[in-house]
């Protein structure tokens, strides 16, 4: 492995966390970190006429674990079209919508991304998630354990045992080496385990008699008290249903009162809001609720979202929200996999093709872009496709071009279902993202939201994760030459990870193993002991594994990195 020091000369730098907006400057790297002054005997990289950004950070991308592997298993037809042979440097694999682990790492790096988080890991099967993350090369990563339908948490809420619940959440994060508290369809996945549904925030969960609102509020409060680096990460109830934008706003609003003493940082992250940003009352009049959601976000600083943009074409949808996947199976007639996990959560997988001519799909495409363009603060609207739900992450360059160019949006808008086109406000939106804003929504804001203070920027001391794109902002007008933008973001001229050049001209040249971040909340030894004795009886009753075998030792992970609470 070549760990060389680097002087990156004359790049056009976009580093929003350090308020650098397209300045021509040098970036220096020593020992895998950014330093202030040029380094002697370093490799010189001429980045003149090129864009230099921090390495990309993806806050929400399903890349590893049970349901992802079910997706791979289920879709041989997805693999045949996109194969990657072994080279002297690269492992073999397959790509398209659910790439194999090695291909996932390579393709992120080819686009200049260096950090990716798997956002939905069933705790009982998180050992599997880590096994896959350990075979996902180059990028740094982590995973969010699912907690929104956990029996222990719901029991504690019903019994009003706050301290025990808080200690349990801390224990669980540490036990499975997770990074953030993830909530998916709170209470609704437990209902789905009986084939039932939850439809609003105050509907009691069958047999538990707690409500989604209580689950969200308790976990939000606990998350704040534990000072976890990332806010609660919420996939709301009523996924994909017409009119669900109200649930999204209600979910954000349900914790608003807790935001008072958090120095203005968001306390709730609502994910893939494209799927939960729908107005209307049926599939016939479903429309965009993006203006209402954007309005809420523009008025309230305690919440943030990621978009979950859809891209027309074939993909594989997968989520811990098993009930939604069953509905999608009924709607589409496509094959369906379900994977419920005892005491904790569920999951489902359905292949899906988004079609331009389909009214609902066209509305979905519009909702995502409207969200991204109508929310004024780019620090609180992250660019994702909820890979692979809205489309594979390899489509990000397309999404970037839509954000940057009204022309490119118009071109596609002309081809989508005409009723959808009429009903969307997208055509009237003139806003176009600058490269500075693109740097926010694809790395700086995501790193900040994750509490990775040493990532997402190019200031001294930061990890030397750097992307250099072959795009000359002085010559290319992204608004007009959007194809050039796509090309540049598809294959980075250089991707540098911890100071190592891992990708050059879009080709992988080195494959180091990235870290797996996990959060170690502060939990006094005596709390841990009393917690263990408190839950061991019920653990034995509910689970089918021994409690000791459930816990994942740090040494099990190939390259773990514990993160202390930072907030």
């Amino acid at each position: 492995m070549k760990m060389r020091d680097l002087n990156i000369r004359n790049g056009v730098v976009y580093d929003p966390l350090n308020r650098i907006d397209g300045e021509r400057m040098d970036i220096y790297v020593r020992g895998g970190r950014i330093v202030e002054t040029p380094v002697k005997d370093a490799e010189e990289i001429n980045a003149s006429h090129m864009v230099v950004m921090p390495g990309g950070v993806d806050i929400h991308s399903h890349i590893a674990g049970t349901k992802v592997n079910v997706g791979r298993l289920m879709r041989p037809e997805d693999h045949f079209k996109d194969v990657l042979p072994r080279t002297g440097i690269r492992r073999a694999g397959v790509g398209h919508s659910v790439p194999t682990t090695y291909v996932t790492g390579y393709r992120y790096v080819e686009m200049g991304y260096t950090t990716v988080f798997e956002p939905a890991s069933p705790p009982l099967k998180t050992r599997h998630t880590h096994e896959e993350l350990d075979e996902t090369p180059i990028v740094d990563k982590g995973c969010f354990p699912l907690m929104g339908n956990n029996w222990f948490i719901m029991d504690y809420i019903r019994e009003n045992k706050y301290e025990e619940c808080r200690d349990y959440v801390a224990w669980l994060l540490e036990a499975v080496k997770g990074y953030a508290v993830k909530i998916v369809n709170p209470g609704g996945v437990e209902a789905w385990a009986w084939g039932k549904y939850i439809t609003h925030l105050d509907e009691p969960v069958p047999r538990f008699e707690v409500t989604p609102r209580e689950i969200i509020r308790w976990l939000c409060r606990i998350n704040l008290e534990l000072k976890n680096p990332h806010p609660i990460h919420v996939h709301t109830n009523n996924m994909a249903k017409p009119g669900n934008y109200e649930t999204t706003i209600e979910t954000m609003d349900s914790v608003k009162d807790m935001a008072s003493n958090t120095d203005g940082k968001p306390i709730i992250h609502v994910t893939h809001v494209q799927f939960t940003g729908r107005s209307g009352t049926s599939w016939v009049n479903v429309g965009s609720g993006a203006p209402e959601i954007a309005d809420y976000l523009n008025k309230n600083r305690h919440a943030e979202i990621d978009v979950g943009q859809i891209v027309f074409g074939d993909t594989t949808t997968m989520t811990a929200d098993g009930s939604f996947q069953f509905l999608l199976h009924l709607l589409s007639g496509n094959k369906w996999a379900n994977s419920d996990v005892e005491v904790e959560t569920g999951a489902g997988v359905v292949p899906f093709r988004y079609r331009r001519g389909n009214y609902v799909n066209a509305v979905q495409w519009g909702i995502g872009l409207e969200l991204a363009l109508l929310v004024k603060d780019p620090w609180r609207v992250h660019m994702t496709t909820d890979h692979p739900n809205g489309g594979p992450f390899t489509e990000y360059p397309k999404v970037i071009s839509w954000l940057m160019s009204k022309k490119s949006r118009k071109r596609l808008l002309g081809k989508i279902n005409s009723t959808a086109r009429r009903r969307l406000t997208l055509g009237d939106i003139d806003r176009e993202y600058s490269l500075y804003e693109v740097a926010m929504v694809t790395r700086a804001a995501q790193a900040r939201s994750l509490g990775l203070t040493w990532k997402g920027h190019l200031g001294p001391g930061a990890d030397a994760d750097i992307a250099i794109y072959n795009l000359n902002p002085k010559q290319v007008d992204p608004s007009k030459d959007y194809l050039k933008v796509r090309k540049a973001f598809k294959k980075a001229a250089y991707t540098i990870k911890d100071g190592v050049i891992v990708c050059k001209d879009g080709e992988i040249v080195e494959t180091p193993l990235g870290r797996t971040y996990w959060v170690k909340p502060p939990l006094p030894e005596e709390s841990l002991e009393s917690l263990a004795s408190n839950i061991s009886g019920r653990f034995k009753e509910y689970y089918t594994v021994e409690m000791d075998n459930y816990v994942i030792d740090e040494g099990y992970l190939a390259n773990p990195q514990a993160v202390a609470p930072a907030r």
């Binding site: 590893a64 049970t66 992802v68 592997n69 079910v70 791979r72 298993l73 289920m74 879709r75 041989p76 693999h79 194969v83 990657l84 042979p85 072994r86 492992r91 073999a92 694999g93 397959v94 659910v98 194999t100 682990t101 090695y102 009982l124 099967k125 050992r127 599997h128 096994e131 896959e132 075979e135 029996w151 385990a193 009986w194 084939g195 047999r207 069953f326 199976h329 009924l330 094959k335 369906w336 996999a337 379900n338 994977s339 419920d340 996990v341 005892e342 005491v343 569920g346 997988v349 359905v350 009753e541 509910y542 689970y543 089918t544 594994v545 021994e546 000791d548 075998n549 099990y556």
Partner: protein
Amino acid sequence: MLIRGVVCTVCGCCCDDLNVEVVDGRVERVENACSLALSKFKHHSSDRILKPLMRKGNGFKEAPYHEAIREAARLLVDSNYPLLWGWCLTSCEAVKLGLELAELVGGVIDNNSSVCHGPGLIGVQDIGISGCSLGEVKNRADLILYWGSNPVNAHPRHMARYTAFAKGRFEASRGDRKLIVVDVRRTETAKLADEFYQIEPNSDYELLTALRCAVNGEEMELNTVAGLPVERVEELADSLISCRFGVLFYGLGLTMTYGKSRNLDAALSLVRDLNRKTKFLIMPMRGHFNVTGSNEVFTWVTGYPFGVDFSKGYPEYNPGITTISDVLRREECDAALIVASDPIAHLPSSLADTLKKIPMITVDPHRTPTTEASRIVIPSAIVGLESTGTVYRMDGVPLECKKILNPPPGVKTDFEVMSDLLAEVKGLLR
């Protein structure tokens, strides 16, 4: 010393509640073990191979470990189209290395599921699967259906730990659950059932299709199906529809009888259809303790669960062309690496004969018909007794095995053997 929470490495149940007392490096006593597990703990040291062996004339000579590895690597590198087979009675860590080795030497790598539960995996590719973890069954199921599967003999603790006799949160006793068995003979499991449907051999597809008709409200203009009066078929369908939470467990009696993957298409479709009426799930009764893990690792590395051909440099999968039976039937392979499996004893004799004609390298703890026919034999430690390692239960729950005994002196783990072999192959290809 009493070691608690030992993961059993016999069948796909992967019971992880065994307590094993080890005295002077010997297993003295095992708590919570079934008869199969007890036998493994008791007899693990019989028929062991203790030194690497290389064929000399009609017999073997003992060889230094590094010589055996070197020779094995050379054989694989010189081969045009090697077969890498087994991977289900070992750890995921070893499987990962096996896959990289297959990539390097351009071979075909396949695991035992191609001759056992492979049709179920093909079924998932056709239909999908309504699946869950075993704790879901324990806590919620009020109807349990075993089809072509006899857990009393093949998975002895399955019913006690996970299904009919388990105590769960919402379904606490045997009385809360209905147990149904569909089989061609009155098995020990069938004797415990509330309802038993004895069907004609090879008529599973017919019955499953009839059940789908009944579940979907279609009338059958037949008197009998699969040897059962049509009224009994309707009665079974009614049981399935009227439960709150039902589970169908299927065994090789469904995957390896007439129709194979089509049987599974029908079973998976039936369970899918039932979800329009109630909650219903389906799970294969996997045999080997880590056949599921082998499928998982294969899938995240190559995209496919078994039968993966790397001869073009990238993974290709086509059951009927790329599994062990296919490549042996066509007599295409010119060398084989067998890890933790005994194909000579278990394949059809014509395929076993083909295998015997090509040089085999076998990595196994025990003397087997396959080791006897091999060119090179490398002994290995037993996963779950003498080495740690990750295994996946039949429902995909991953567990880390414990090492409770030392392997015989000089005997390495599968992981170590595969690491050394991989390093040697990389050296030769450099």
